[in-house]
């Protein structure tokens, strides 16, 4: 049980990634697929942020007292945070591209449903 709590973040990461992956593969609706992609993405972001978290650490903004000699153990890891900060913004841009594609497909086939789109194409 203690082991589970100590690794609880990884369990949630894996569950979120499973949910996102399942929705991308199994859902027929294109918008739901896009939302599933975003959930998969937040799962990965959670993985990075939680390995960068430190016990008893503060936010990665130094106080004036710590300017000359900052204590590494009391400051959270800034590196994983900046990687994920940019990933979030890029994530919303790619979500926009996905939604744009879905919208274009809807106006061609007047449906978000994958099966109906395939049927339409075969005609």
């Amino acid at each position: 049980m203690e082991n589970l709590i100590a690794n609880f973040n990884y369990v949630i990461v894996v569950i979120l990634m499973m949910i996102g992956l399942w929705s991308m593969l199994a859902q027929k609706n294109l918008i739901k697929k896009c939302i599933g992609m975003a959930i998969l993405q937040t799962g990965i972001i959670l993985f990075f942020i939680s390995i960068g978290a430190k016990n008893n650490a503060l936010i990665p903004i130094l106080t004036e007292a710590a300017y000359s000699d900052p204590d590494v153990a009391t400051v959270a890891n800034p590196l994983t945070q900046i990687l994920m900060l940019t990933a979030i913004v890029v994530g919303v841009a790619t979500l926009g591209v996905g939604l744009g594609l879905a919208q274009k497909i809807y106006h061609q086939h007047s449906s978000f449903d994958e099966d109906e789109i395939l049927e339409n194409q075969r005609k």
Partner: protein, 348 residues
């Protein structure tokens, strides 16, 4: 070993809630409802990140994940339809995918004992290069917000390319959705600006219009503060740019798309999106001309007044402004494209 993050029970509760929200967002039949629940999911994520000490990430998520991406989904649904057609069958397929995904998950979970504990300060990710940034940021750049200094200075190449990715996504949406409406333009009579009807749908609520008219200047002022004060507090080009874009999107929603299109025409909009990236790249080139490496702002001290560390601080500010411009206008351009279905005339 039990983790002793500030309040780890709180984190555990939020993590469970996040999984619930994810399941609900995917199981709701109405797409509009799914979009709203997805926004709530993003807010939960934002709380988790603030709890883990990642304030800048939480800020970005609150502005981007909960704000702008929900608007994108809603404006897509506005142009299409919110109902999902239910059709029988397909259970076997879904179960099969479920089994495959569960196997993948079990495979990932089997590596669980090899991971460092949650919040371990000596884990490889925390003990290799990150301590250098923490110890030297003040001496090298005079920037106490480590996220800003790592984002724009130590890892400037990363950020440059991420900004370019946002720019490319904006161009991709243009090439997917944009439709020329030259034909319909000639059909419509030229609008006389003096007697033109109000540029918004008068059936819209006056209260919403006035409230957003009051709020937008403050939002933009706050966004500029976030960009300029990002050296000392959470914030920076990405967050400020997204808030600026969101303020314009708020105007576009509460008035009408025409109202915003009258101020931001298509060509200047795309020029501005490109100019942000150009500003970033130009700062990098300026560093080369003053004798340093690409994006090595320290060499700018020959043109800027103060010492090397201060020159790096100023370089970070210039770069953040470039990032802010690109992000702001690409968010606005993506929203206009999605909301007007690429026609740039009317929409949400």
């Amino acid at each position: 070993m039990m983790p002793s993050l500030p309040i780890w029970q709180f984190d555990v509760l939020l993590l469970v809630l996040v999984v619930l929200f994810a399941v609900v967002a995917l199981s709701i039949r109405n797409l509009m409802g799914a979009a709203v629940v997805f926004g709530a999911y993003s807010f939960m994520m934002c709380l988790i990140w603030a709890g883990m000490g990642a304030v800048d990430v939480a800020f970005t998520e609150a502005a981007v994940g909960a704000g702008v991406s929900t608007v994108f989904i809603v404006s897509t649904i506005y142009n299409t339809s919110a109902t999902m057609r239910s059709r029988p069958g397909g259970i076997a397929f879904k179960l099969f995918i479920g089994v495959v995904v569960t196997l993948a998950g079990v495979f990932l979970l089997s590596a669980l004992p090899d991971f460092p504990d949650w919040g371990d300060p000596n884990s490889p990710a925390n003990a290799t290069v990150a301590p250098y940034y923490i110890e030297n940021s003040i001496r090298d750049t005079h920037v106490p917000n480590l996220v800003t200094s790592v984002l724009a200075d130590y890892r400037g190449f990363d950020t440059l390319l991420e900004t370019i990715v946002v720019f490319i996504a904006c161009i991709a949406i243009y090439s997917i959705l944009r439709i020329e409406t030259a034909k319909s333009k000639t059909d419509e009579p030229e609008e006389d600006t003096a007697t033109a009807p109000p540029s918004y749908d008068p059936s819209d609520s006056l209260i919403v219009r006035q409230a957003s008219r009051f709020m937008v200047p403050f939002m933009q002022l706050f966004a500029l503060y976030v960009i300029a004060h990002g050296h000392y507090s959470p914030g920076g080009g990405f967050q400020g740019g997204v808030i600026l874009g969101a303020s314009l999107i708020l105007l576009a929603i509460s008035f009408d798309l025409k109202f915003i299109l009258r101020q931001w025409r298509e060509k200047p909009l795309m020029l501005l999106v490109a100019s942000g990236v150009c500003l970033y790249a130009t700062v990098g080139l300026a560093c080369m001309f003053t004798g340093g490496n690409y994006l090595d702002y320290g060499s700018l001290d020959s043109v800027l007044p103060n010492d090397r560390a201060m020159a790096r601080s100023h370089g970070i500010l210039l770069v953040e402004i470039g990032v802010g411009i690109t992000v702001m206008f690409s968010m606005l351009a993506i929203h206009i494209n999605l909301a007007s279905n690429g026609r740039f005339d009317r929409g949400l």
